[in-house]
Amino acid sequence: MTALLTLSGVTAGYDATPVLHDVDLAITSGEFTGIVGPSGAGKTTLLRLLLGTLAPAHGTVERAPGLTLAYVPQLETVDWNFPVTVFECVLMGRTSHRLWPWPSADERRSVAQVLERLGIADLSGRHIRELSGGQQQRMFLARALLREPALLLLDEPTSGVDINTRHDVLHLLGDLNRDGMAIVLTTHDLNGMAAHLPHLVCVNGHIVAEGSPEQVITPEVLEETYGAKLEVLQHLGMPVVIDGGAPGRLAG
């Protein structure tokens, strides 16, 4: 268990308005972590700090030397009219220096293999808009996996996809994690997603709690994270959150 990324005393935000305060967080090799919290709590800011696309206003972000990251963006943020095929999109993941614009035979093989692994090999020549939400998610996963990352970061990987796809994505990520890849994702879905992950970080402007779902999914922690009283039931050994008072608050 070596530290891939370490945030120490980090305060960060946009235009001098801090979104996150005094964050200490370590991402270690092989872990599988969900960042949960309400909208505007700083989930995406935390993700951007980990990615290195946002510099902290205070504190330090330490990155293990030679760490390879891959990032799967939220489907909603993508320009689906952009003229690229699935193949072209996945190939973007190979950013290491190759002089020629066109793919080598080796790169073609790598793309074909990763598409095969994700079950979308037959969609290689399609335009990205012609894909379903689940297929689009797989395409971005393929692009990320092509980088052979030690750490995979995903922003809301299950928003905008149906229940079956959510299940598939969760399984796929579980497999990747068992193969040794560290995974960090953000999610607002406590029951469908977070409760199935081995490690959770609750965020609301700062880190409220960190630990396993059993440790973290408690009425006290949830109240501090979401600012609402939520009930927690046990079902088949897993915590289930009931949002009785304010429907939709968790879905935000």
Binding site: T53, E76, V84, E88, R94
Partner: protein, 290 residues
């Protein structure tokens, strides 16, 4: 055949034809990146800004006007990018203020002191008269630079155009790639300005790229088609302008507009749908694909 060969007897037409065709190709090629980034308006603004730089420089050192206008253009481009990166909302306004003020300055200086180079009308709408060897060499140099830059940075340019955030997270130096693109754009406008004209350059950045987008869903093909369409517009427009006796830029743009209408007729709603969101980079991003 006669019609095609007759004007070629004139040296000025040969030069004009060469420059117009190469300009069409260059603007068609680079226009793909500009249009897909929703930066058409920046192209429009830059050509006007460069006009101001040109008018100002020729007052002090007429022989260096290309250099002066080029530096002015690159400075405007970098300023615009810096502003638009900080706040997307302010970009349109920044372009509007910076570039139209620069253009107004150019017009004022032109009217007051006259021009050492092309006349006012020629500068605005394009002319093939008085094209010098050095202009042709400049154009060839910029084409070579653009080809080399895109060839070696093809994937980084594509990635940053498609999704700058993920590109940056994947280790691409997005800021540098964007600066490179802005330098190429400024230089491309600068060297094509004489033939196409200040007010019409932006059209040649946009029209071929939009036509190509309507015809293909593949990025590589879009680059090739847009370059081809730009080349043809330059070539055909040049001949038509000779016979119609109108400024070269106007005919080149009108040919482009005609091709656009033909392609629109062929592809119909499907073609139009493909161009959705190209006027504004964020306009279509709130929608998830069905």
């Amino acid at each position: 055949m006669e019609t095609l060969l007759e004007p070629l007897a004139f040296g000025f037409f040969q030069r004009g034809l060469l420059v117009a065709t190469l300009s069409g190709a260059l603007l068609g090629f680079i226009g793909v990146y500009i249009v897909l980034r929703g930066m058409s308006y920046i192209g429009h603004g830059l050509s006007h800004a460069i006009f101001g730089g040109y008018a100002a420089t020729q007052l002090f050192a007429a022989q260096f006007y290309v250099l002066g206008a080029g530096l002015w253009g690159i400075a405007s481009a970098i300023a615009i990018t810096a502003v638009s990166r900080r706040s997307r909302l302010g970009a349109d306004a920044a372009i509007g203020v910076v570039t139209t003020a620069s253009f107004a300055l150019g017009v004022a200086l032109f009217s007051k002191f006259g021009s050492a180079g092309p006349s006012f009308d020629n500068a605005l709408f394009g002319s093939i008269l008085g094209i010098t060897d050095s202009q042709i060499l400049w154009l060839l140099a910029v084409i070579a630079l653009t080809a080399v830059a895109v060839f070696f940075r093809y994937r980084a340019l594509l990635f940053t155009t498609f999704d700058p955030d993920v590109a940056q997270a994947s280790g691409i130096r997005v800021g540098r790639i964007e600066a490179l693109l802005m330098v190429i754009l400024s230089l491309s406008i600068l060297v094509t300005l004489t033939v196409i004209g200040v007010t019409l350059v932006a059209a040649m950045l946009v029209i071929p790229a939009v036509i190509a987008r309507m015809l293909t869903n593949t990025f590589g093909w879009m680059l090739a088609l847009s370059t081809l369409v730009g080349t043809l517009c330059g070539l055909v427009g040049m001949y038509l302008s000779y016979y119609a006796g109108v400024p070269s830029g106007t005919m080149i743009v009108l040919v482009g507009a005609t091709v656009f209408l033909i392609v629109l007729g062929m592809t119909g709603a499907r073609g139009l749908r493909r161009t959705a969101g190209m006027d504004h980079p964020t306009a279509d991003r709130s929608r998830v694909a069905a």
